[in-house]
Symmetry: C2
Subunit: 478 residues, 2 copies
């Protein structure tokens, strides 16, 4: 998607966010009613009150509510230039639905007019037979380029970049450079940083449009150019791409291949989507959901796919809970003699899981936003140790008082629970703090060490500590 085209083509009205959302909902309702009665002209006119981003959003809703046929009719009634933009804003699976509903000629038109990076995104989503059909109608040179781009791994810098960038020569004057830019006529965000190449395709330096615009006409590009730029490799993971943008705050970063030749640029607007996707993946993993395609929306994921994403960790946790159960059953002698102990078992297991999850979540997030490094391990350990002692103490006292005063149980029961509590909290916090670091160390995603893993381990530990403590303090043989 190109930023500038948004800024130019949009029909957004000046109004504040809340009112805007309300109007959107109202118009959507009206639209669905119009479609119900097949009043397509009115529906289209209603749609055209919005900018392309919003039209895309509305068509998404229409697709869900009024079905694919009516959506296609409406889509085909949009002005051609609008339809291209709207198409590129639709989610991947909706794009496939639209492609399947329109004619080959319409497909070619959309493909021709779309920005190169959007085109690659669409082609990556489409079934192979449709891709072949589209490529057949594409000029040879572009087909070659498309094929090269389609070969980059899905989550690489190569798959995010666009080959639409401005190339300048270092011998150009500012006036010549601006003329060159004017002739290229690109009105998109890709124009704001220009790239100076050396010999064949090797990147020599970068020059910003703002420095060209503010410099004197006869200044040489070589005087404005910066040779100390940040760049990415086509095979860099999109997570690293996002990191680079977050760190340096650039609008675009050049991408080079293994021979250091400039092959494209990644722009900040495409990185926003990557950040969202990567965060979603992290959050889902932290809750034990393994979704290998996190840009598909929740409601668009089928029931079996949801089951498939959730079952692996649930089974893992079930097995560990079974082991915990077996461990507990080793203490049947203690439990059957002092049955009241059972009432405090959930308390200890639950608190272990909760405190461990807190620590793990903080450390996982810290690692992912680069606030915490592997070399901080000891600092994290020391911090969690002190935090856990205080929290353990507070919770112990609280529980001791409750068990003695409210439950009226003997002091030895209260003592058993309270002492176990301190040990469990300390263990859980340290485990929660260290496990994500260890995962990172051995190259496993730290996010996998959140709730499921931590609570599985602390459950086993808490129940054993508690029942062991009971058998010691209460003098019951195991």
């Amino acid at each position: 998607m190109t930023i500038q085209e948004n800024n130019t083509g949009i029909q957004a009205q000046v109004m504040d966010m809340e009112a805007k959302n309300q109007r959107f909902e109202d118009d959507l309702e009206e639209m669905l009613e119009l479609l119900e009665n097949s009043q397509y002209i009115s529906a289209r006119n209603l749609l055209l009150k919005y900018n392309e981003v919003d039209i895309g959003e509305m068509l998404e809703e229409v697709l869900d509510e009024a079905g694919v046929e009516k959506t296609i009719i409406l889509f085909r009634m949009l002005p051609k230039n609008v339809s291209v933009e709207v198409f590129s804003y639709l989610p991947g699976d909706d794009q496939v639905k639209v492609i399947n509903g329109i004619t080959d000629r319409e497909i070619s038109y959309i493909m021709e007019e779309m920005n190169f990076d959007d085109k690659i995104d669409v082609l990556e989503e489409l079934p192979a037979n449709i891709v072949d059909k589209i490529l057949d109608q594409t000029p040879r040179e572009e087909r070659k380029l498309i094929n090269t781009f389609l070969k980059y791994p899905e989550d690489s810098a190569g798959s995010l970049m666009t080959p639409d960038y401005i190339s300048l020569q270092e011998t150009m004057t500012v006036e010549e450079a601006l003329d060159h830019i004017k002739r290229q006529g690109m009105t998109s965000e890709t124009v704001y940083t220009c790239y100076v190449k050396h010999g064949g395709r090797e990147l020599k330096g970068i020059v910003s449009l703002s420095s060209l615009v503010t410099a004197e006409k006869d200044t040489k590009v070589s005087d404005l150019m910066h040779t100390d730029y940040v760049y990415l490799n086509v095979y860099d993971d999109q997570e690293d791409v996002a990191e680079a943008f977050k760190k340096y705050g650039f609008l675009a970063i050049p991408v080079v291949d293994n021979e250091n030749r400039l092959v494209g640029i990644v722009t900040v607007d495409d990185v926003m989507d990557v950040i969202e996707e990567e965060t979603t993946e992290d959050i889902e993993r932290m809750a034990g959901v393994m979704n290998d395609d996190s840009d598909v929306e929740y409601l668009d994921i089928g029931v079996f796919r949801h089951v498939k994403n959730r079952l692996p960790w649930l089974l893992f946790m079930t097995v560990t809970l079974m082991i915990t159960g077996t461990l507990i059953s080793q203490f049947e002698a203690v439990l059957s003699q002092v049955i009241v102990l059972v009432a405090y078992l959930p308390l200890l297991m639950g608190t272990g899981g909760n405190t461990g999850t807190q620590a793990a979540t903080l450390v996982i997030r810290g690692l992912s936003v680069d606030e915490i490094d592997l070399k901080d391990s000891l600092k994290v350990l020391w911090k969690e140790f002190r935090v856990s002692l205080i929290l353990g103490l507070v919770l112990s006292v609280f529980n001791f008082a409750k068990i003695m005063l409210i439950d009226g149980e003997p002091m030895m029961i209260a003592m058993t629970v309270s002492l176990s509590m301190i040990i469990v909290v300390t263990f859980a916090k340290i485990l929660g703090g260290m496990l994500p670091m260890l995962a990172k160390k051995v190259g496993v995603d730290p996010a996998l060490m959140a709730t499921p893993m931590i609570s599985s381990i602390t459950d086993m530990f808490s129940s054993c500590i508690y029942l062991l403590m009971a058998s010691i303090l209460l003098g019951v043989a195991i």
Copy 2:
């Protein structure tokens, strides 16, 4: 922070990410050794091999490892223009440490040279007496402006914006407009969209630098200008600001006050930080950590502050776990007769918590990235219901087989656990799916409905269902 200044002032070497990180670590080690031996000149030269962003990062490490005094000495040895940039990249608390260590004259220099939006960020972090001192040395006009900006709520569009934008007149030609931009000489990301004002300060339209650069010289600004732009209000929450950028993909969005007067613009680079901060807040809340200042780094938060952030939810969960314990103790008769039941209690409680958390996490994330709306409640309910039936069935069969075949327990025990399992999973998934929607409906942050809340409720429910089921199936009176 300004994007363009990065692009121009940086010293980054061309090399790939991994090698770069390794070099950074090596150089940091060398630097610390140099500082240890008070070889400041060599340390400074080593530092100056890097760009301002990286220098900032290195100083952060130096501050932690070598102490504030050596850091200040090093900071004061940086070239003046570099030091301003580096300062603006330091985290808030490190900025305060630096400010406290340098002279008033150095402070004034940094303040004068810093971009307006960075200046506001710094002033917001500083103690009141230092702010007053700085403001005393600021020209009256700017002081007024600063005071206005400081008055905007901390997480509002007003606190994110900068007043440094390009104003054009609609009667200008492209040539005049470009001349005007050149005279202003702003080489920052704020130049890429220009703003056309009407009468006093009312925003009339926007025009992009790329369209000015590619248009003919005598074209009127009014012909290129777009009056259908997206804008924000100074009091819009930063979450809405981030949403707008994510949705429309703009580089900058104008901000107006309640009288619709243009007061500043927000640029995409500042929004990247907001997105990170908001996500961190969500993730932390989902794990029961209440941190009201999530831009302070994990390691910089004191032990007591960590305790304060984590204790409230832990206490809440402790209370609910106590209630669960009390509920369980109502079933002492059942438990003491069939003590083996205790071994499966963690299994049911744990599975309830785990499955509920999965559903809640997916729905919370869906709500926060606008994939799920309140009106989708029934769809979410129906999806979670079907998913839970399948998952419940799979887990039941798995458990049934394990209890019968491996544990060798009577069939009625296996039946009790399996039947309870289906009910617990279904309940937990539906609760996990619906609770965040309900929270959103009543205006509570859905993120608060994740692990702590869900597992508290499912724990109570699971233990009751299980023991009730046991007393019915096994025919034991409660």
